[in-house]
């Protein structure tokens, strides 16, 4: 990771062409260096963080005065940093009998801050949680004493997590974890604090900026979706082809514990919705044997979405994995113990993330924890099912090969789709799909759960969520349409995004039939569509043209009276 002075030097570089994001930073201690670190590191991530910084200790004035510069600036993201040192200052000033109220006083204030921001800005809020300070007044007994500072601080951190669960645009940036990883001695330098009100050392700022940008990236649809695993000496010790199944290190054999714990971590990622794939230089049957027979294997074949073991080069194999999964290389992480393979992949596919795994497998996990690779802005039930979905997709590919005629194949799938407006059950998944969809996304507007709730109740919008099921299984919610009433005559398609898993299944036609018939029934004469190009959505450049819309300036128009239903193989559920 680059150090602070390297990040500061980035500030003079040319930011043109980078993705702009408007951010406000408010803090109760000096935040100038934090702002420099954020903007400097943003440059490394190809984002132009346009940061407005509140004057020192102006958090409440800026937020509760609705005429303040904060609201005039209209940021997309508001970062709040209220430090543990200021919290300790407040605690010190309280009467003795008030000490145990500190956490609730602060939480009330934070709730008030959040709701005021939400009422007046369509922004997401990132709040830094509290790094631990033990003032050592009670010793260990602080843990048994509600009025101790440590008790109050930890309770506040816990209550903030509860608050974040209930408020979908409130995100915590966990700098407390970061202080645990780096140590308070690195995090905080007393002489600097006394002289300049800075509570974060220059050494730790790049890491704090990194944690923050991980979150911003996730909020704006950039995050990791897939892990590609090597096998020998990565998920078990030894070489399966040479050592044989009895001798690979797993469980209690040799340093097997390191690999077993690593596998548990991968399994948890899989359950969280990360797609796990294998890319190994091995004979396939030999590579699969431990998955099928070794009693200490945590990972099994049904955890793996795509399993490639052969003697071809890994770059080609990874390209194949990418084409099966249909996700961007920049959302993939390649884990391999072999520096040669890592370099080869890095050189040929620069977008892919290739961590420099430590030599000693005992260090794998701590190293990977610190990288914080798997940031996310949402989590839904569907995440836990994702591997199955991709395995089913692989099955469909095999079936498709049996049909020479595309229509016969699609017909044989017996596809049905449930079409519903947004409701409380589908809201998390709708929000998530809006954040995940980069390729099949006409306007690339990202919606939070709070945004979706607003749309669902607005009189100016009609909303549609589509699921798709077929004889192989349920794909879940895979397409979203948001229509905005523009006039008595016209509906504007504000958003159309779809999961790439279900391309070439006639879903586009089904969706267009559905919304055009809807528009006609409601008396609207026109549907208007728009394509806003991004680095990733070239796939839908001609979407409206192909569907028969007529070009009109930068928009596309469809006359609903003249519309004839398009051929599709999907029935309404």
């Amino acid at each position: 990771m680059k150090d602070f002075s390297q990040l500061a030097k980035n500030l003079k570089k040319d930011f043109t062409g980078l993705t702009p994001i408007k951010v406000a930073v408010l803090g109760d201690t000096s935040t100038q260096f934090l702002v420099q670190a954020l903007r400097g590191l943003g440059f490394e991530h190809n984002i132009d963080l346009q940061i407005w910084e509140a004057d020192f200790d102006q958090v409440e004035r800026q937020i509760f005065d609705l005429d303040s510069e904060l609201y005039k600036y209209k940021p997309e993201i508001v970062i709040l940093f209220q430090s543990s040192h200021k919290l300790l200052g407040k605690y010190n000033k309280l009467q003795n009998n008030q000490h145990s109220l500190l956490n609730s006083i602060e939480l009330d204030l934070i709730e008030n801050i959040y709701s005021t921001i939400k009422k007046n800005l369509p922004a997401k809020v990132i709040y830094y949680n509290y790094t631990e300070i033990d003032d050592a007044v009670f010793g260990n007994f602080a843990n048994k004493t509600e009025s101790s500072f440590l008790f109050q601080l930890r309770k506040l951190n816990y209550e903030l997590m509860n608050f974040a669960v209930q408020n979908s645009d409130f995100y915590l940036c966990d700098i407390s974890t970061l202080q645990n990883q780096t140590g308070k001695i690195v995090f905080f330098q007393p002489a600097l604090y006394i002289n300049s009100e800075m509570v974060l050392s220059l050494d730790v700022l790049p890491q704090i900026a990194s944690r923050t940008i991980d979150l911003i990236n996730a909020l704006t649809g950039r995050f990791k979706k897939c892990v590609i695993l090597d096998l020998d000496n990565t998920i078990w010790g030894g070489i399966i082809g040479d050592d044989g199944i009895e001798n690979i290190e797993l469980g209690s054999l040799g340093i097997g514990k390191a690999f077993t714990e690593f596998q548990y971590w991968i399994k948890k990622l899989k359950n969280r919705g990360i797609i796990i794939t294998v890319c190994s230089k091995n004979t396939e049957s030999v590579a699969k044997e431990p998955f099928e027979k070794h009693p200490d294997m945590v990972l099994h074949l049904d955890d793996i979405a795509v399993f490639i073991a052969n003697w071809e080069n890994k770059v080609d194999n990874i390209r194949q994995i990418q084409s099966i999964l249909n996700i961007g290389f920049d959302s993939m992480v390649f884990l391999d113990d072999n520096p040669f393979e890592r370099n080869m992949v890095r050189e040929n596919i620069p977008e892919i993330c290739v961590p420099e795994l430590p030599e000693d497998p005992a260090d794998y996990l701590e190293y990977l924890y610190a990288l914080n690779l798997f940031e996310t802005a949402s989590f839904s039930n569907e995440d836990t099912e994702r591997t199955k979905l991709y395995q089913i997709e692989a099955q469909r590919n095999i079936t498709q090969q049996k049909y020479t005629n595309e229509d016969d194949y699609l017909n044989s799938l017996n596809m049905i789709s449930l079409v519903e407006p947004f409701n409380k059950f589908n809201t998390p998944r709708v929000a998530q799909l809006s954040q995940r969809s980069n390729q099949f996304n006409l306007t690339t507007v990202r919606y939070s759960e709070a945004d979706i709730n607003l749309l669902a109740t607005s009189e100016n919008y009609y909303t549609f969520a589509f699921t798709l099921e077929d004889k192989f299984g349920d794909n879940g919610l895979i397409c979203v349409i948001i229509l905005k009433k523009e006039s008595d005559q016209a509906l504007f398609i504000e958003s159309w995004f779809m999961s790439c898993r279900i391309l070439k299944r006639s879903m586009e036609n089904f969706v267009l039939n559905t919304i055009t018939n809807f528009a006609r029934e409601k008396g609207f004469k026109y549907l208007k569509g728009e394509y806003i190009p991004t680095a990733k959505n070239d796939m839908v450049r001609n979407h409206y043209k192909d569907l028969g819309f007529e070009s009109s300036g930068s928009l596309w128009i469809l006359n609903t009276d003249k519309y004839e239903n398009k051929k599709c193989f999907i029935n309404k559920k």
């Binding site: 002075s5 600097l192 002289n195």
Partner: protein, 80 residues
């Protein structure tokens, strides 16, 4: 280490932190003389000097220097 050597290394640090390639400082230089040497830059200079010379300034020392000369004296006392 001689004082002149300390000054030379401190000069290098000033050049790097203030991003001013041809900057030459002497013992009489004060913050007013260099536009880029504001209170924020001062913190970065202090941290960079601590790192380079592997030493630690007390909070009182950081506040006490009136010019580069006093800064150099303070470093020299710790490294000589």
């Amino acid at each position: 280490m001689e004082k002149s050597e300390v000054l030379k290394q401190v000069n290098e640090i000033f050049i790097d932190v203030l991003e001013k390639e041809d900057l030459v400082i002497n013992e009489q230089t004060v913050a007013k003389d260099i536009e880029e040497w504001d209170s924020l830059a001062h913190i970065r200079l202090v941290v960079a000097i601590e790192k380079t010379f592997k030493l630690h300034f007390s909070s009182r020392e950081i506040q006490s220097w009136e010019n580069v000369g006093e800064m150099i004296d303070c470093i020299y006392e710790k490294v000589k």
